[in-house]
C-alpha cells in the first residue's frame, strides 16, 4: 500500500524542507508530522520520506529506530507517558503508573483492551519540581495524586470512544 500524506501535511513538509540549509535536516520534523497524522511510521511512509529527501530507506529507518518517540507500530488512541525518573519516583511515580494501568486494565507499552490508551514510562520530563508528573498526548499534568489520576482517566474515557485502533486490523 503506497503511502500519501494529507494535502495539509504535504504542504507543511514542503515548507519545512525549504527552511533548512540541507534537506536531510528536515527528517525529524517530517517524521513528527507524519506520525502525528498516521499514528505511526510504516515502512511505506519511511520509503516515502526517503524519496522526498533523496535518502535511502535505511537512512530513514536508522533515525526512526534510534529515537524512542518514533514508532513503527500503532499505539492506543491516547498516549500516556508517566515519568519514571528519580525525582518523580521519590514522590510516587511508580504508583501513578500503576494507577493508569489499572484504570485501563492494561500493561506497560501495550494497547489497552478498549483501544483507548497506551501507557508508557518516560524518562525525566523536565518538571521534577512538581513531581510526580505525566503527559497525556501533548499535555503535562503535574503534582499527580490518586484523585487526579482518576479524574484524568475518567476524562479520557469520556472523550475517547473505545474500539479498534487504525492499523491494528488483522
Amino acid at each position: 500500500m503506497a503511502f500519501e500524506p494529507s494535502a495539509e501535511t504535504l504542504k507543511y513538509i514542503e515548507d519545512v524542507i525549504a527552511r533548512y540549509p540541507q534537506k536531510r535536516s528536515a527528517i525529524m520534523m517530517i517524521l513528527h508530522a507524519i506520525q502525528k497524522e498516521a499514528g505511526f511510521l510504516s515502512l511505506e511512509a519511511q520509503e516515502w520520506v526517503a524519496d522526498k529527501l533523496e535518502l535511502t530507506p535505511i537512512q530513514v529507518r536508522e533515525v526512526v529506530t534510534f529515537y524512542p518517540f518514533y514508532r513503527e507500530k500503532p499505539i492506543g488512541k491516547r498516549h500516556i507517558r508517566v515519568c519514571r525518573t528519580l525525582s518523580c519516583a521519590l514522590n510516587g511515580g511508580y504508583k501513578v503508573c500503576d494507577s493508569f494501568k489499572e484504570a485501563f486494565g492494561t500493561e506497560l507499552d501495550a494497547i489497552s483492551p478498549d483501544g483507548r490508551v497506551t501507557v508508557e514510562f518516560a524518562e525525566c520530563l523536565a518538571s521534577c519540581g512538581t513531581a510526580p508528573v505525566a503527559m497525556v498526548d501533548d499535555v503535562l499534568y503535574e503534582n499527580l495524586n490518586e484523585e487526579q489520576v482518576e479524574a484524568i482517566c475518567e476524562q479520557i474515557k469520556k472523550e475517547t470512544p473505545a474500539g479498534e485502533v487504525a492499523g491494528t486490523e488483522s
Binding site: R19, Y20, P21, Q22, R24, S25, A26, I27, M28, M29, L31, H32, L53, Q59, E62, V63, F66, Y67, P68, F69, Y70, R81, R84, T85, L86, S87, A89, L90, N91, G92, Y94, K95, A122, E123, C124, L125, A126, S127, C128, G129, T130, A131, M135, D138, V139, L140, E142, N143
Partner: protein, 459 residues
C-alpha cells in the same frame, strides 16, 4: 491556550533577573507585553549602535559560565570560533533540558520566550551567525509551539529574519524538535541529530563545534539560560554583570530543587551568596515531617552524590583552607567542585532516610542504560550491567560481592568513551558505592521477602 507550568512561590532570598517577569500574573508571552517591559530595546540599540566585537567583549568581561552543565565561560567559547574558514557560522540553542532534576529552561520557554529570542539574536549578531536553531526536546510540544509563535511575532517586527531593523544583518531562527533521546543534549550528538541522523556524539578532537560543528561549519552551542543571560550582560555591561555573584561565578543561577523536600521548585539566586544548606533547609523548607537527610545529588543525576554527615576538606583556588559539611558548600560553580562533585545543570535532588539507597542508584542506572547511544562498548555494556546488577539487588537478589563488582564496572568506563555520557553514567555508581559501601554490602543480608513489601518502588 497554552498550559503554563506551575509556579514556585518566590522566596525573599531570590534575585530574579532571568525570571524577573516569569511568574508575574500580569505578564504574558506576547511580544507586546515583552516590549512594554523594555523587551528588544537591547537588541535595537545593539544593531543600531554597537559593533559585534564590543558585544563579544562584554560577554568576555562578564565571565558568564555556561548553564547547561559544563560551566565553560561563554565568552571564551565564542572566541574559539573559527572565523578564518570563510564558512557560515551557526548558533544552536540547547533546549534539550534532559538531565534528570532539571526544569529551569522549561520556565523560560513557557513564560518568557522573547527573552530567549532576544538573547539569541544578540548572540547571533555578536558572532555574525548566518542562521540560528533552537533544539527543543520532543516532550515540550507546547514549548515548541510557543517558540514558533514568538519567532513569528518577532519576524513580523523585523527583529528576526532579513536585514534586521535596517542594519544589513540577517539571521533567522529555526525551531527543531528532538524525539525523546537524552543524548541529544550532548552538543555533538545534538548536531548529528540536527543533520538528520542518529544522535551519535562525535569525538573531540577534532570535532569541536567551534571549528567543525553543524555541516562541518563553526558552530556555537549554548544553553537556554546562558543565552538569556547575554541579553542582561549587553544591557548592563559585562563589567557590571560581573559584580553580581562572585569572581569566576558571576551572575545568578536558576537552581532546580526536587526530590524529598518540603518546597521543591526553581529558585534564582545570586551565585556564591548562599550554601546548599540555605537552599535545602531554608529556601526549600527542609525535609518532610519526621525525616532526616540521607543524601544530596548536587547538580543533576550524573553528579557525584554526597552522603549526609560527610565532611569536605581541602584548599580553595585562592589557597584558603575549607572544612565543609553539605550544608556549608557554596551554591555556585566552584563550591561543589571543591567538594568533589559538580553543580552541573543546577539540579539539586534531596533524598531522605525513607528510601533504600541501593534502589536510588538502580533508578539512576536505569536512566543512563536507557540513554546510552551505543557507540562505545564501555558505556553501552557498562551502563547496562550497572543497571542489571542494581536492579537485581533492589529486587531482593543482592550478593556481598556486588559492591566491588559495581565499582569495578564503574571504574572501567569514565575516560574511555567518545562523549561525557561515559562519565555521566559511571559517576553515580562510583560515588554511591564508595560513599554508601556499608549499605551496599549489608543489602546482601537483607531478607529477599522485604523487597516485595516496599512502601513504594523506585525500580
Amino acid at each position: 491556550m497554552f498550559s503554563v507550568p506551575k509556579s514556585t512561590e518566590i522566596h525573599p532570598s531570590e534575585r530574579r533577573i532571568i525570571l524577573k517577569h516569569a511568574d508575574d500574573p500580569e505578564y504574558d508571552i506576547s511580544i507586546d507585553c515583552y516590549t512594554r517591559h523594555g523587551g528588544y530595546d537591547v537588541l535595537k540599540e545593539a544593531v543600531a549602535n554597537r559593533k559585534p566585537e564590543d558585544l563579544c567583549q562584554e560577554v568576555m568581561d562578564s565571565e558568564v559560565r555556561g548553564r547547561g552543565g559544563a560551566g565553560f565561560p561563554a565568552g571564551m567559547k565564542w572566541k574559539f570560533l573559527d572565523r578564518k574558514s570563510g564558512k557560515p557560522i551557526y548558533l544552536i540553542c540547547n533546549a534539550d533540558e534532559s538531565e534528570p532534576g532539571t526544569f529551569k529552561d522549561r520556565q523560560i520557554i513557557h513564560k518568557d520566550p522573547h527573552q530567549l529570542i532576544e538573547g539569541m539574536m544578540l548572540t547571533a549578531f555578536a558572532t555574525n551567525c548566518a542562521l540560528a536553531f533552537i533544539y527543543i526536546r520532543e516532550e515540550m510540544p507546547l514549548g515548541a509551539q510557543i517558540l514558533e509563535a514568538a519567532i513569528e511575532e518577532a519576524r513580523a517586527q523585523n527583529l528576526v529574519g532579513e536585514n534586521i531593523l535596517g542594519s544589513g544583518y540577517s539571521c533567522d531562527i529555526i525551531v527543531h524538535r528532538g524525539a525523546a533521546a537524552y543524548i541529544c543534549g550532548e552538543e555533538t550528538g545534538l548536531i548529528e541529530s540536527l543533520e538528520g541522523k542518529r544522535a551519535y556524539p562525535r569525538i573531540k578532537p577534532p570535532y569541536f563545534p567551534a571549528a567543525l560543528g553543524l555541516y562541518m561549519c563553526p558552530t556555537i552551542v549554548n544553553n537556554v539560560e546562558t543565552l538569556c543571560n547575554v541579553k542582561h550582560i549587553v544591557d548592563m555591561g559585562g563589567k557590571n554583570y560581573a559584580q553580581i555573584g562572585k569572581p569566576g561565578n558571576t551572575g545568578t543561577r536558576i537552581w532546580c530543587l526536587s526530590g524529598q523536600v518540603r518546597n521543591p521548585g526553581y529558585y534564582e539566586l545570586e551565585n556564591g551568596k548562599f550554601t546548599y544548606g540555605d537552599l535545602i533547609f531554608e529556601i526549600g523548607g527542609g525535609l518532610r515531617e519526621g525525616r532526616t537527610l540521607q543524601a544530596v545529588i548536587p547538580g543533576g543525576s550524573s553528579a557525584k552524590v554526597w552522603r549526609a554527615g560527610e565532611r569536605f576538606t581541602g584548599k580553595l583556588k585562592n589557597g584558603e583552607a575549607f572544612n565543609w559539611g553539605i550544608e556549608d558548600v557554596p551554591l555556585d560553580f566552584d563550591g561543589p567542585m571543591a567538594a568533589g562533585s559538580m553543580s552541573g545543570s543546577g539540579a539539586v535532588i534531596v533524598i531522605d532516610d525513607s528510601v533504600d539507597i541501593v534502589e536510588v542508584l538502580a533508578n539512576i542506572n536505569a536512566f543512563y542504560a536507557h540513554e546510552s547511544c551505543g557507540q562505545c562498548t564501555p558505556c553501552r555494556e557498562g551502563s547496562l550491567w550497572m543497571k542489571k546488577i542494581t536492579t537485581r539487588m533492589a529486587n531482593g537478589g543482592a550478593r556481598e560481592e556486588d559492591a566491588d563488582l559495581l565499582a569495578s564496572i564503574g571504574d572501567q568506563i569514565a575516560g574511555r568513551t567518545i562523549c561525557a555520557h561515559g562519565e555521566a553514567c559511571s559517576w553515580p555508581t562510583q560515588s554511591f558505592v564508595a560513599k554508601f559501601h556499608d549499605k551496599f554490602v549489608e543489602k546482601a543480608k537483607e531478607d529477599p521477602e522485604k523487597a516485595k513489601v516496599r512502601p513504594f518502588r523506585l525500580v
